[in-house]
Amino acid sequence: MRDHPDTEHLLASARRALLEQVVPALQGEARSTALMLARVFSVLTARLAVDARALAEIESGRESGELAALAGLLGEAPSAARLACGGTHAAIACLSRKLAAAIRCGSFDPPGPGHEALLRFLLEITHAKVAENNPKALEAMGRTQQEGKT
């Protein structure tokens, strides 16, 4: 078992030091680079949390939510896909590839039954991706969409 501070805490301290002590002392390109580094720390923190949740899901004996949703869309059993691909991560990649190919050849075109479920799934995974990489963009998108501006 690791001693404190944990990874999350380390990243948070590094990001705060960068923003409060380093950035104000810099100008121009160096300042932009330091701000980009701060952003990297935020993304790493968000990804750690997501990975920890996924790990807890797997450890509890449940299938990962993403794998279950993918398998559901493709009419496959998640456990079979996981065994065939040699793990949850590989199975998600494999089924995503199958899904991409099925979308391209029109298997999910509306008004078929799969279309609504597919759209919900795509919105969910894309939303999760943006939440990890740029939560501010998500807030801004929600705001302008509510105001009806596109």
């Binding site: 991409a100 597919l118 795509l122 919105l123 894309t126 943006v130 990489n133 998500l138 501006k149 596109t150």
Partner: protein, 349 residues
């Protein structure tokens, strides 16, 4: 290979003297300009001929080692710049081009330096600019319409560009799919957008010159006016609505997502300027279609930028962060599709 100004200075002076028909040229200041992840720009102060004349302020533009796949080599970008200048589009004045990589280590061209600001975040922080945002957008729309008077017919000097597509939308879809097929990660959301674009593709229409990266960051603004359109390395033949959609993409609105046209003002202003010069009434369905195409294309380009970083050996934090934005364009495309579908559902009901 990066340009080494001290090594380049003497051969550049000889080249420019010959190109400008001057007895001799002397380069004073030579400094790298910020911006440009694809091309490199250098400010060059040039004393040509008699020492009494005021020095000319120029920009030297070269390519970087690993370019984006579709970026034009210097000679071809120069040909485009010349065509735009001849048509009366506001661009930096072309001065000279050198396709010989031996002269300064890589092909390059030289154009006039244009004063002003093109960084969107800076423009957005300038109240005097934001106060006249819609007026600037009208100018930008008008310039775009002028640029679009350049069509493939009888344009031998633009033979360097890829041949004009017969069906812009369907060829763009095929290109993006071909790119995705070379990419190891699957992208179901991009595939979904492409399938929608395929099912709703418009009948092939007129093909015009398309800047290829028409956004606020590529226009120069001084004293509340548009002074020139920059960075022509991604120019290609395309659909008239593509550039307007690109300009209005959410990703390029930066701190002002509420201002649809480049984070500067309204799309209506951009369209007003475009309509005034082109004489065409904007087609809302085409605008919706090309908005979705723009986001889908940019999602794919951002993947390509990460490809440069991860596989192309370019260790740039900036390129890595561009890739983080792929999901934003995917989400925007999905939401624009949902809106378009809801609209057509209403129309059918």
């Amino acid at each position: 290979m990066e340009l080494e100004p001290e090594r380049a200075r003497a051969p550049l002076e000889r080249f420019l003297a010959k190109a400008l028909g001057a007895d001799a040229c002397r380069i004073g200041e030579m400094t790298r300009l910020a911006g440009g992840t694809v091309q490199d720009n250098w400010f060059v102060e040039l004393q040509a001929g008699a020492s009494g004349a005021p020095p000319r302020r120029l920009v030297l533009r070269t390519g970087r080692v690993v370019g984006v796949n579709d970026s034009l080599p210097a000679e071809h970008e120069y040909a485009v710049l010349c065509a735009a200048a001849r048509t009366g589009v506001r661009v930096p004045q072309p001065v000279a081009v050198c396709g010989d990589p031996e002269v300064i280590g890589q092909p390059f061209f030289v154009m006039s330096f244009v004063d002003g600001e093109s960084r969107p975040w800076k423009l957005q922080q300038t109240p005097e600019v934001m106060a006249v945002g819609d007026a600037i957008l009208e100018e930008i729309g008008a310039e775009l319409a002028r640029l679009q008077t350049i069509t493939p017919d009888g344009r031998d000097e633009l033979g360097c560009l890829k041949p004009p597509p017969r069906d812009v939308a369907r060829e763009a879809i095929a290109d993006i799919r071909a790119y995705l097929d070379r990419h190891d990660h699957p992208h179901p959301a991009i595939e979904y957008a492409l399938r929608w674009l395929e099912r709703h593709a418009p009948a092939p229409g007129p093909v015009v010159l398309c800047h290829g990266d028409f956004r606020l960051g590529n226009v120069m603004i001084a004293d509340g006016k548009l002074t020139s359109i920059l960075d022509w390395e991604l120019t290609r033949w395309g659909d008239p609505y593509e550039s307007m959609a690109w300009f209005c993409m959410r990703f390029f609105r930066f701190a002002r997502p509420d201002l649809v046209a480049g984070g500067l003002g309204s799309r209506a202003a951009l369209l007003r300027g475009w309509q005034a010069v082109s004489g065409r009434v904007p087609d809302p369905a085409a605008i919706r279609y090309w908005d979705i195409m723009a986001n889908t294309r940019w999602a794919t380009i951002s993947l390509q930028q990460v490809g440069r970083q991860v596989f192309g050996g370019e260790n740039s934090l900036e390129l890595a962060l561009v890739g983080l934005a792929t999901g934003e364009m995917e989400l925007e495309a999905l939401s624009l599709i949902a809106q378009a579908d809801a609209r057509s559902g209403l129309a059918q009901a």
